[in-house]
């Protein structure tokens, strides 16, 4: 009888440990996602200023600028699930990247003090977003491993925990690029 009780007690302990591990990993993902969301919001706050300072110079890019404004509005007006936030961030990042490339064609804009300041702040935010993406991916990876590995997978399916999506890190962030390309010269 005693042995039986000890075994039951041990099993219960293991179950509690597995449950707590899964919950802490899930919460870790949520916490880091909140951090990521905060940095993304900082970038969204910067976009109206950016758009207004460049639109009088970049007359040929009005469609891109409108699209950026539209995406920003979408990101701020609704509370999006993580998968959509990821997709939206990907779109905005790529559009901003393209926009910064086209800036090269506008020498007067490149010399504008206000724009240079915005560009500098944006670059810095990109660095922070990149760090947040990497932190998020690491936490999602830990979480996904936990819900798929034996024996926590049984507990995870019982708790209805689902796999979470990773951010695809842009190739330029994965390479050991020359920092000069990120930092303002």
């Amino acid at each position: 009888m005693e042995t039986f009780l000890i075994v039951i007690g041990l099993l219960l302990l293991i179950l509690v440990f597995m449950y707590n591990t899964l919950i802490s990993k899930k919460n870790q993902v949520d916490t880091i996602f909140a951090g990521l969301d905060a940095v993304l919001k900082k970038r969204y706050d910067l976009l109206p200023n950016l758009v207004s300072s460049v639109k009088e110079y970049m007359v040929h890019e009005s469609i891109t600028l409108e699209k950026i404004t539209e995406l920003r509005t979408k990101a701020l007006t609704t509370t999006l699930p993580s998968a959509e936030t990821i997709a939206l961030d990907k779109q905005i990042s790529s559009m901003l990247g393209n926009l910064m490339v086209t800036v090269e064609n506008y020498p007067t804009l490149k010399a504008n003090e206000n724009f240079l300041h915005l560009q500098g702040t944006l670059n810095e935010l990109e660095e922070q977003i990149s760090a947040a993406r990497r932190a998020y991916n690491q936490s999602v990876n830990d979480y996904n491993n936990a819900i798929e590995m034996f024996p926590t997978n049984f507990m995870a399916s019982f708790m209805h925990l689902k796999r979470k999506e990773l951010f695809s890190i842009p190739a330029r962030e994965r390479q050991n690029i020359d920092v000069k390309t990120i930092f303002q010269k």
Binding site: E127, A131, V179
Partner: protein, 322 residues
Amino acid sequence: MKPTLSSLLDYYYESMYPLLKSLEEKRLGILSTLKKAALILFCGAILLFFILTHTPLLIPLHAFLLSALSGFLIFMFIYRYESSGYGILFKDGVIEKMIHFIDPSLLYSKMSFIREEEFKKSTLFVESYDRFSGSDLVSGKIEGVDVHFCGLHVEKKVRDTDDKEIWNDIFQGLFFVADFNKIFHAKMVILPDVAEKNFGILGSWMQGMNTQRGELIQLDHIEFEKLFVVYGSDQIESRYILSQAFMEKIVQFHKKIKKPLALSFVDSKIYLALHYTKPLFEPILTRSVLEFNYIKEYFELLVMITGIVSEFKLNEKLWSKR
């Protein structure tokens, strides 16, 4: 202009050589004094041994030990006295000149070292200590970055199994502090990965359980992860500091230096501790200062330290840090 070995060679013969010649004479003088002292003390110890063996109080072994120990202690006293005087001359004539050759704007103070508060603030070594000493403080701006570094020796007093007092090293080596090129508020420590190296997955699990230094930060650079363990107070900001490119630079620096390396990031500053088994800029009495290869070793060490700024690109500041 970055100092090179060939430019040092010119400087060595043009500016340093006359001074080194007089330093060499001094060194030879000290060596000769020490040789004489050793000979006299040796004879004195033999004489003492014979006197002691003829007293009924001591057995020959004790008499031998007593006379040998007395001779040795007196010799060490003379050695310390002579070599410290030489050490000061060497630092004035070689180390200070070389630092000014590398960067004339740097200030050198052979007797100073970083403040204890700064050492504590780095959180690189959390163990309590009983003795804090150092020397050779160099401070100033390198490529626009505020930098200071020195040789540091931090020890703890412990008692061995026979209840004898012994001093254990907590840290001995180079302690380097510089402004970091990004602003951050979190704290982060990078330490050599001993546990995972020795115990594998179990070691990694143990590191995760250790919350003394903050959360364990697992990073996406395989080689870096093998060499170091990282603890930080913020998962995102830690990665903001440790970009892929920066981790690669730390790995390359570690490969080049081949010495235990620890780093910490506190209040937008980078702290670097590099373990050495001997004092950094102390001269070796038995080596001639007229030997260029000997002087070159100190030059290479100084170039390595001052080169940390460009090695880690600390001068390429982000927008808000300018």
